[in-house]
Symmetry: C2
Subunit: 123 residues, 2 copies
């Protein structure tokens, strides 16, 4: 065990955008992980991309949250040709259902536990 | 195996609000699941609550997305006394770190695969 925990992307100063992509997957996930990794690489090149958090319940829902500085960044990502091809393949093969919510952040905050909590002094 | 898949909450007509709560948990999760279940029950009583999606990567991040009709619904949930007590306990015990992003949805869409895909006709 180590002291490093995976941490969420930081809470930026609003306004910025979130894209919340929630999916239920089909049983056949052939090629999914390679495409997902490629999309993660691609989105990092979008100017204004701030970061991404992901969680996946085995056998259940997956949620990906992308953070973007402004609407232009989202437009660029949405119109990326390779991204659009991946979306089409997702609808054809990987997703039973999904939702996408694009929203402008009005407030945010973060919490981080102290790295090395001190024990109460003895006696 | 059955034909029922867990599906994301539907994509409502904007505007509405999302609250994206992303957490990294501590090793000690005593009492967490009972409190989480209680919060899920409580939030359903908030007028304007539209639904909630959750995903949890074992050993990794958890993401909960709550959907609310308007800012008043979020204010009511945020000021709920039992919810506030749970937040305090979460900071003290369950969360290594977290972020909360409250955002107004500007566009959304959903996709659902046809329930019974037809096989291509033979020959």
């Amino acid at each position: 065990m180590n002291d490093h925990f995976e941490a969420p992307v930081e809470a930026y100063e609003p306004p910025y955008y979130v894209a919340v992509f929630t999916t239920a997957r089909t049983p056949d996930q052939s090629g999914y992980s390679e495409t997902a990794a490629r999309m993660e690489d691609l989105v990092k090149d979008v100017p204004g991309f701030l970061g991404m958090d992901q969680a996946h319940t085995p056998g259940g829902l997956s949620i990906t949250v992308g953070y973007f500085r402004d609407a232009d960044a989202l437009t660029e990502w949405r119109s990326n040709a390779e991204h659009r091809a991946a979306q089409k393949r997702g609808q054809a093969e990987w997703y039973q259902s999904y939702t996408l919510h694009v929203a402008k952040v009005e407030r945010s905050h973060g919490f981080t536990r102290a790295q090395a909590p001190q024990s109460p002094a003895a006696g």
